[in-house]
């Protein structure tokens, strides 16, 4: 499912051009405007520090005192702020690029409007909701809408990147069409549902572009904590000179500001907005449009996934897997009858019966002309009337048994056992009879998709339960559930059962996600904490969900969960890293501040730096450089290996906590060596 998205949006995103970077660099300066800067309390403190140090530097110039060191500190501080702004700007630019690529698809579309029995050709911008347009093979669909008449295969590559055509049909749950996609075959009538420029996708893209990006709940909570830590360190540096003065320790203002900037969590503070935007972008890369960042974040908290069996867990088509003869009928007789009854059957099930019978060596005798009776909801059987007068029926047990009894055909005693055995195995039993006897049972089995079992196991390791929703009877459902490895199932489910199940899960305190496409899924999509609507689905479903999957791939939900988790982990990991860094920075700066006043201070200088000035500069340079160094990680997200919470915590603590203490020691020492080589030991 990841592969399909490689073609479309991802391809655009991968174009990380010089253009994007230039744009981001320009934005980084624009974000220095105080009103914008104030939204990020941590970096705003750095900005204020920059201004103060710059002023001190200017004062030194005016007084003819040495100013170079102060000026260098001011520049490093400015760079720190710019790097943080740049991180946010890059993330934004990427999001804009992705959204723009979605939009280009729909410029300059023309529609054939059908009104009062005649067509007008007019630009898509003049189409209004309620208009009916006709789209033929090879034409682009001019506006979002629903097919009111006809069925067509549509290439949606322009929007989804998926080049395989999809089927769209009036009156089904796959009736939605998207502006900019191309009809490949047939002709359809589409009722326009959106104002120009306000199509569902237009609105969602606008959201993604982040014009009015709001902080997500966890981001807000973290911002509060980071602001509090910033305030604590502000208190530390404000009180320090007053306390030091009592012991005759004078502390230089520039060094104090350097201490402040090194202590406050600039790394996570600088990268926090970028991480949030990148989370939305990653969802977009997976071809999922989330209506808010909050939804993406929430996906990581999901406890229960409700999944429709068909299409998500199984391939959707049942295939014949076994013939069971009953009542003394011979196997070959059963196979032949089943084969004859299915030769003209166009359904996948029918074709699979033919294939299985032939594979088992049955050859269809030429029976001459025959009449095929297709399956209907009333008869619940299909079959064939051969010219020789032989009639064969296959269908649900009750239907075939009724049919047989009506013809005074005896029903063998072992039929029930055979039917039960098939049902218990998770397959659908199809009873085959001809005019004289009931021959046996064909097992039609659902084929579980390759790899779902492993995916569900991964989800279980993350603490996510999967519940399969199916219209099958409980026996069949249980067997498939066991085969697919879901945790629970809901059999013989009607749409309202889904809603009830979601409410029940939520009442037990769980957060529920579900996938849906039909109009009757809309209430459940709205009730679920995460409702992932299929883009192929109805407008109602798309409005009700809080995410739309452009690929219409129900298993996409699993990726969304991982993206949500990754988003939080990245924030937590970089917070830990940022705080752990402080420990090592202290060992650079504290000796530098006090070495003149307190003999023996050098004992704390475990890095043996070349001098107090270089120590402060090295710590500040490290502090600034670590932000751009971590931009790729912030945008990509911390690599996420599903596993128990315990193992995740241990790994991230080791990498970002212990690593966060160790790395600056090495980096600051290296920067100091460089500084000493360039400017000498000071």
């Amino acid at each position: 499912m990841q592969t399909s998205s490689r073609h479309g949006i991802k391809a655009h995103a991968a174009r990380f051009t010089a253009q994007t970077l230039r744009e981001a660099a320009r934005d980084a300066f624009a974000k220095l405007a105080p009103l914008t800067a104030m939204k990020n309390p941590v970096m705003f403190v750095v900005l204020v520090g920059t201004v103060v140090v710059a002023a001190l530097s200017a004062q030194a110039v005016a007084n003819g005192k040495p100013w170079l060191y102060t000026a260098v500190v001011a520049l490093i501080l400015l760079a720190t702020v710019l790097f943080a702004n740049f991180a946010e700007a890059v993330a934004e630019a990427r999001g804009r690029g992705q959204a723009a690529s979605l939009r280009t698809a729909r410029s300059q579309l023309v529609g054939r409007r059908w009104r009062n029995g005649q067509f007008d050709c007019l630009p898509a911008t003049e189409l209004r909701p309620g208009d009916i347009v006709v789209v033929g093979a090879g034409e682009q669909i001019p506006a979002d809408g629903e097919i009111v008449e006809g069925v067509a295969s549509v290439n949606e590559a322009a929007v989804t990147g998926e080049s395989a055509p999809v089927l769209r049909e009036a009156g089904t749950d796959r009736s939605g069409v998207i502006a900019g996609t191309t009809v490949l075959s047939d002709e359809i009538k589409v009722r326009v549902t959106a104002q120009p420029g306000e199509s569902f996708l237009d609105r969602m893209i606008a959201l993604v572009e982040g014009a009015q990006r709001q902080k997500t709940p966890n981001e807000l909570a973290l911002t509060v904590l980071l602001a509090a830590l910033t305030l604590v360190f502000l208190i530390v540096v404000v009180t320090l000179p007053a306390i030091g003065k009592f012991a005759g320790v004078h502390i230089d203002a520039v060094v104090l500001i350097a201490l402040l900037v090194c202590l406050i969590p600039t790394t996570i503070g600088g990268l926090l907005p970028a991480i949030g935007i990148a989370g939305m972008n990653r969802a977009l890369e997976a071809n999922v449009i989330a209506k808010s960042g909050k939804a993406v974040e929430l996906a990581g908290d999901i406890d229960t996934l409700l999944l429709d069996k068909t299409g998500t867990i199984t391939l959707g088509d049942r295939r014949a897997t076994e013939f069971i003869a009953v009542g003394g009928a011979r196997g070959p007789d059963l196979r032949e009858a089943a084969l004859l009854a299915s030769l003209a059957d166009p359904t996948p099930e029918g074709k699979s019966i033919v294939a299985l019978a032939q594979a088992q060596g049955t050859v269809a005798a030429d029976t001459g002309a025959s009449t095929f009776l297709p399956f209907s909801a009333e008869s619940r059987m299909s079959g064939v009337d051969l010219d020789g007068g032989r009639v064969i029926r296959k269908g649900a047990k009750t239907a075939v048994v009724d049919w047989a009894r009506a013809r005074q055909v005896a029903v063998p005693a072992d039929l029930d056992a055979a039917v039960d055995r098939v049902a218990r195995g998770g397959a659908t039993p199809l009873v085959v009879a001809d005019g004289s006897r009931v021959l046996g049972v064909v097992a039609l089995a659902d084929v579980v998709k390759h790899g779902v079992r492993e995916r569900f196991a991964r989800l279980r390791a993350m603490g996510v339960r999967t519940v399969m929703i199916t219209g099958d009877n409980p026996l069949t459902a249980a067997a498939i559930a066991a085969e697919a490895g879901v945790d629970d199932f809901l059999a013989e489910a009607r749409p309202e059962d889904k809603l009830a199940r979601i409410r029940a899960e939520q009442a037990a305190g769980r957060l529920v996600a579900m996938v849906g496409d039909g109009t009757n899924d809309a209430p459940a999509l709205a009730q679920a904490d995460i409702g992932l609507a299929m883009n192929s689905g109805t407008q109602a479903a798309k409005e009700a969900g809080n995410m739309v999957d452009l690929d219409s791939d129900p298993t996409k939900l699993l990726s969304v969960v991982e993206i949500g988790k990754q988003l939080l982990i990245t924030r937590g990991a970089l917070t830990t890293f940022s705080l752990a860094n402080d420990v090592s920075k202290y060992f650079a700066i504290i000796p530098a501040i006090f070495v003149a006043a307190i003999p023996g201070m050098a004992a704390l200088d475990v890095m043996r730096l070349s001098g107090p000035v270089n120590a402060v500069l090295a710590a500040l340079i490290f502090n600034a450089l670590v932000i751009p160094a971590l931009i790729p990680l912030a945008l990509r997200g911390v690599s996420f290996r599903p596993g128990s919470a315990e193992s995740l915590l241990r790994r991230n603590l080791l990498v970002f906590g212990v690593g966060g203490v160790a790395l600056p020691f090495v980096a600051i020492k290296l920067i100091d060596l460089l500084l000493a080589a360039v400017a000498g030991a000071r």
């Binding site: 973290l222 320090l240 993350m462 603490g463 769980r510 982990i569 937590g572 307190i598 003999p599």
Partner: protein, 570 residues
């Protein structure tokens, strides 16, 4: 060293059953002692006009706590002000100045027992018994009541099974908790311990001071006044209730409070037994058995590290004697009869537990042990004061859950209840409040000319001031001393710090618990953070150390850490 290990082992062994008993008292379980206690309790509920069946929300619990504290505080203040007009004053002690009386009342009301006076000279027997001891008995049980209410909140309150999401939860009845804890736990223990102390030679009398002729006529005085009184009862409550305020100015260094090495050992056990018992209470009280090992593991690790540093430090010679041929351990400011190790152990546990009683001068500790004592109080969650230590520890637990929760990719949850911006804001406020209060007042005292009155210049002078405010904020009460602290500045500024260290630090966590309690509870899954794991315990230790060290290292470097470096250098 063997005595250190033995004392700690005995304390833990005694704390275990005591913790289970605490849980059963707080849960209101039926017991054989009901026949004795229930009538007394109903009498008290009747007098207070309290319905013991009625539960309280966090707000109700907090208001009851505040109301009872206002009444007790005003009462104690009046007693200290007017003691010269009241009975039981055989030595004719005058009334206290209003600011000193205020500081004393607040100090004991906040379970701090910071003393800017010398008890034997400045308090009447009535003040000691009714003013001081009443507060010493009640305030630790009030702290424990708040801790119990907070724990109930973290698990959804007593009505968790029936309440709807968003509905206010029943966190218990304040009056019932405090009454039961006082009658069934504290008073019997204190009685037993007071009798033991009397047996070992601590005075227990209403007679006035003894006047004796000095054994050594060369001492330059013809007679010596030895103040006595009902000392044993007060020493028992001061040690058992993490109070620490002594009858005599020099506290447990005085033979009349702490006569023998055995008395010293018993008092040391009394200092730690209740705070450790609170940890053992956790499992049976909350039904979360594994919570006790987690909290015990984190606290014990930090405790042993700090005790180790302290004992090691005091076994080194004092810098002034280091040049001698056989300098021995640091006995400066210590009772020779207790020796360096026992005194260092005492210094460590009295600052860990928010007790604050001393048997040696902390001012004279080697800088490393002095640093350990200050760090203990800055953390104030290694055992900590009865109840309040646990509340502080739970604050660190919640902060750690927030950080760790993000690292496992879920919105942080406390036993299934989401920790969101509202709670994080309250917890953050506490973190800021501590540094603002301690560092702010330290800076003010040092900058405003003439207010500090510290006896030392330089780094040690800074340490004296910083220690005083840290001790006040931690509601510890021990002092580096050396401050001319009976002044308006010290009485009033310390009073403010005492109040800030007590009420916001107890009530804000209670508020957080109240807000968590009413939230929807998610079931525990493989994806939830396992709080009671070694990994999380390590995370908590890292968070505690990081928050404390990062905020206070610079000022410690300007104090005892700087002193240590200078000593090492010379």
């Amino acid at each position: 060293m063997a005595e250190v290990i033995l004392l700690l082992a005995v304390s833990v062994a005694l704390a275990w059953p005591l913790g289970r008993y605490l849980a059963s008292v707080l849960k209101g379980e039926a017991s054989r002692a009901d026949a004795m206690f229930l009538p007394v309790e109903s009498l008290i509920y009747g007098l207070l006009r309290v319905d013991p069946q009625r539960g309280m929300t966090w707000r109700g619990y907090a208001l009851a706590f505040l109301a009872s504290n206002v009444v007790l505080g005003v009462f104690a203040w009046l007693v200290f002000l007017l003691q010269h007009t009241l009975p039981l004053n055989p030595d004719h002690v005058p009334g206290m100045r209003w600011d000193l009386a205020l500081h004393t009342a607040i100090s004991f009301l906040t379970n701090t027992n910071q003393q800017h006076y010398s008890g034997q000279a400045q308090l009447s027997y009535l003040s000691q018994m009714v003013g001081i001891v009443t507060l010493q008995v009640l305030t630790p049980m009030m702290g424990l009541g708040i801790a119990a209410a907070m724990l109930r909140g973290l698990f959804g309150g007593r009505n968790a099974a029936t309440a709807r999401d968003g509905e206010a939860r029943d966190l218990g009845n304040y009056w019932v908790d405090v009454t039961r804890l006082t009658l069934r736990v504290f008073l019997p223990l204190a009685l037993l311990f007071a009798l033991s102390l009397t047996m070992l030679g601590v005075p227990g009398t209403f007679a006035g001071a003894r006047i004796v002729r000095p054994l050594d006529p060369g001492a330059g005085m013809t007679e010596q006044v030895i103040p006595v009184g009902p000392v044993a009862a007060m020493v028992a409550t001061k040690q058992l209730g993490t109070n620490g305020g002594g009858w005599y100015g020099p506290n447990s260094a005085v033979p009349l409070e702490n006569p023998t090495p055995l008395a010293n050992a018993l008092e040391l056990i009394a200092i730690v037994v209740m705070p450790i018992a609170v940890v053992f209470m956790l499992g049976p009280f909350t039904g979360r058995r594994r919570l006790t090992p987690l909290v015990f593991g984190v606290m014990a690790t930090l405790s042993l590290a700090s005790i180790g540093a302290s004992v090691h430090s005091e076994r080194q010679p004092n810098a002034a004697t280091a040049g001698l041929a056989a300098p021995g351990p640091n006995l400066e400011g210590k009772e020779v009869r207790f020796g360096a190790s026992a005194s260092a152990l005492w210094a460590a546990v009295t600052t860990q537990t928010s007790n604050g009683s001393v048997n040696a001068m902390h001012d004279s500790l080697n800088p490393l042990a002095g640093t350990a004592a200050q760090v203990n109080m800055l953390v104030n969650a290694i055992w900590g004061g009865i109840g309040c230590g646990l509340v502080g520890h739970l604050v660190f637990l919640l902060l750690s859950i927030f950080i760790a929760g993000l690292m496992i990719g879920r919105t942080p949850e406390v036993y299934g209840r989401k920790l969101e911006t509202g709670e994080v804001r309250l917890l953050s406020f506490l973190v800021v409040l501590q540094s603002l209060t301690i560092l702010g007042f330290t800076a003010l005292a040092l900058v405003i000319p003439g207010v500090a009155g510290n006896s030392n210049p330089g780094l040690h002078g800074i340490a004296q001031v910083f220690y005083e405010y840290t001790s006040a904020y931690a509601n510890n009460g021990s002092g580096f001393e050396g401050l001319g602290d009976a002044t308006y500045w010290w009485n009033l500024s310390a009073s403010a710090v005492l109040l800030l260290g007590r009420y916001p630090c107890l009530l804000i966590p209670l508020m957080v618990a109240g807000s968590l309690a009413r939230k929807r509870q998610a079931p525990q899954t493989a994806g939830s953070l396992d709080i009671e794991s070694v990994t999380f315990g390590a995370t908590m230790i890292a968070v505690i150390v990081l928050v404390t060290v990062l905020s206070y290292l610079p000022v410690l470097v300007l104090g005892t850490v700087g002193e240590q470096l200078m000593l090492a250098h010379s």
